[in-house]
Amino acid sequence: MQIIETPETFDVIVVGSGAGGGMASKILAESGLNVAVVEAGPTFDPKNEEHRTQLKWPWESPRRGANSMRAFGDFDSAYGGWEIDGEPYTRKDGTEFDWFRSRMLGGRTNHWGRISLRFGPKDFKRRDIDGLGDNWPISYQDVAPYYDKVDKLIGVFGTKENFDNEPNGYFLPPPKPRLHELYYIKGATKAGIPVIPSRLSILTKRINQERGTCFYCRQCSRACMQYADFSAGTCLVFPTQRAGHSLKVFTNAMVREVLTNDEGKATGVSYISKDDRKEYSIRAKVVVLAASACSSARILLNSKSSRFSNGLANGSGMVGKYLHDSTGASRGAIVPELFNRKTYNEDGVGGMHVYTPWWLDNKKLDFPRGYHLEIWGGMGMPSYGFGFNASDLNSQFGGTVGGYGSKLREDVKKYYGAMIGISGRGESVAQESNYCEIDPEKVDQYGIPVLRFHYKWTDYERDQAKHMHQTFEQIFEAMGAKVLGDTPGKDKDYGLAAPGRIIHEVGTTRMGDDPSKSVVNKYLQAHEVDNLFVVDGGPFVSQADKNPTWTIMALSWRTSEYIIDQLKKQNI
């Protein structure tokens, strides 16, 4: 789609086309509004032969799928990564934060894990439980109807478990566990840890005639040409356009600021076109930011005027504050019973078929928030790195380390598919002292001042990671697996991943009833600018140990209905 400077005024501009932006653009356009979506990257459609990586073989990439170009390898459908040429960011006071961006239609929804968990009733009221952080100004009951709608519109497999704080939903049936998952079930059950079918937004069953069903290639990270997994482009933007609604996408358009008038209302956005490096402006009655938590904060902070000298919607000074990511730790183990496996096609869906939701009571533990367990393993398709140090395991399981010749082929086949891994993904406690702000000196290649991060984990997260590793070892031992590597100690933060690595960053434009302590109200409407909304992860008050996408979409839907209603009533 060619970008043209247009005198056309839109009803709504949506900045960003990922989970939040895709949903808002669909709901708003379907209501009859004239919507512009402004996306910083190019268009992307996994059905397009020039974009498709699904079902490609490793040898079709000269680097065999290595990650020298894309953070998760050549076939992963994220144009971007933690580092993007010409779009730097900085870190303050020697702290760590890695910022993952995906510049393309659909954003990060094209490659994500499709783990689609609802936040539970407790997740909205954590302060009531442990006295830390803040409660959300809304409760599970406010969001539940929208979770239901998202389930039915997008499709998610899972099972009704009546599990504490893991609400039921409208589920498609889950796929049967694979062999390594049966070993996990065996080990976890023996260790007294529950296991249930996972909940992923992948169509194990048809939900409409527009999207196909899963054909089990295990490649959801490549985005599906059948549209059988959720991506914002394939499931929200394209169908809305095909239905003839007024939804115009501006691609390669890097938003610099939200424009405002003398009355302090948003009037549109200005963006730099990556195609001709010129600046354009688009006008609208309402501006909806969905550029991702940190990008939306950056746009607000860069939207300075005499009226908003601190950045737009930032009278509270809270824009950028309370940045928080999920915690993460992982461990692998070898299951000797899986040596020299009989090979068969066990690709399954692109992700785990089973998982463990948080099952303990934090009141009895030395850390305040929970985590869930994700399981990986199996006979996957080789890519760059496969076969590295193939015989090293012989030092533990018998045989010579190193060597050459036929022996190596035997080593490789012996260990192929014998590894199982567990990853813990947990909730951190949001801190005001973890934030992003505008770097006072640096700009990106479009001349836009960049973000500077300041982020430190606390002992809440470190102690949680320590507990994760104890759990991993407990389960591995119970299944008869040999744990790989040493237990990471205090010197390594107990194996806790650096902030930003789990790519669930939220909190930078948090919601609240008190305008002095929050950026948006419970409808995600800026306290200070009534025709400005934020529908990405920025408004999250706390992250829960759940992946944020399902909640982003439910809240975006809810806010879109609010916008439609407010426009009708001429309140904005």
Binding site: E49, R63, S68, P174, K176, C217, Y344, G348
Partner: protein
């Protein structure tokens, strides 16, 4: 029959050009044919990525002599066997040439390592490695191929040979030949319906009937999902 239909529907209109599947009768593995012309070989590159690939392809890192050493080492590491080709048959030296350009951190260890080999064989046999008799080459390789047994003064060679072994194995097992050798059977449309019974038996495992009862009935996967008011699937 539904399974067959669904596999067919997978193909119709979904993959314009490129991929064609045939013979999808139940129980039969679908066969895949790549209709590719030299001019159109996409693997989903962005224009910037395409440019970088082309730039790397147009450059040459190894000298002819170095490339000959790489090929010799590749085939020592993975020689041809009865019904299997060697690493060079699988095109591994070309892959190593490319990856050295793609990951410049490999360049010095590879170039220096090859020179280290030559230094050793010149000292021992007064010949460059490539010119040595196979037996002389193997004599040196045997001393650096086993990290636990190698003498201290040959550690540099151990590190180099380990790198060559890693790149050779990864290059081979990501080639068409290597994937066939490995027995990987996926990367194609399929209907996952659980671990084969004989594999379950072999591992002394079984599915929990209650768990399985809630899993997808693959015969109904193309029936559009509908739920009752309590969220129970009714189709």
């Amino acid at each position: 029959m539904r399974r067959r239909d669904s596999l067919k529907s997978l193909l119709v209109g979904s993959v314009a050009g490129g991929l064609v599947l045939k013979g999808c009768s139940p129980g039969e593995q679908p066969q895949q044919e790549q209709e590719q012309t030299a001019a159109v070989q996409h693997y989903g590159r962005t224009p910037e990525e395409k440019l970088r690939d082309e730039k790397l392809m147009s450059e040459q890192f190894f000298t002819e002599e170095e490339l000959a050493t790489v090929a010799i080492l590749c085939d020592i590491i993975l020689p041809a066997e009865a019904d299997l080709g060697s690493a060079t048959d699988a095109g591994v030296p070309d892959f190593i040439e490319f990856i050295a350009k793609d990951m410049p951190n490999h360049q010095l260890p590879l170039r220096g390592g090859i020179m280290w080999l030559n230094n050793q064989t010149n000292e021992r046999f007064n010949l460059d490695f490539n010119k040595c008799a196979e037996q002389q080459q193997i004599e040196l390789i045997d001393e650096i191929a086993y990290p636990d047994q190698a003498p201290e003064n040959l550690k540099h060679g151990v590190v180099f040979f380990s790198l060559m072994r890693n790149l050779t194995l990864t290059g081979y097992y990501t080639s068409e030949m290597g994937i066939k050798d490995l027995g990987y059977k996926g990367n194609q449309p399929n209907v996952w319906d659980g671990v084969p019974q004989e594999v379950l038996d072999e591992h002394g495992l079984s599915y929990d009937p209650e768990w399985i009862a809630r899993c997808v009935d693959q015969d109904k996967r193309n029936d559009t999902a509908e739920w009752d008011a309590d969220g129970n699937l009714i189709t």
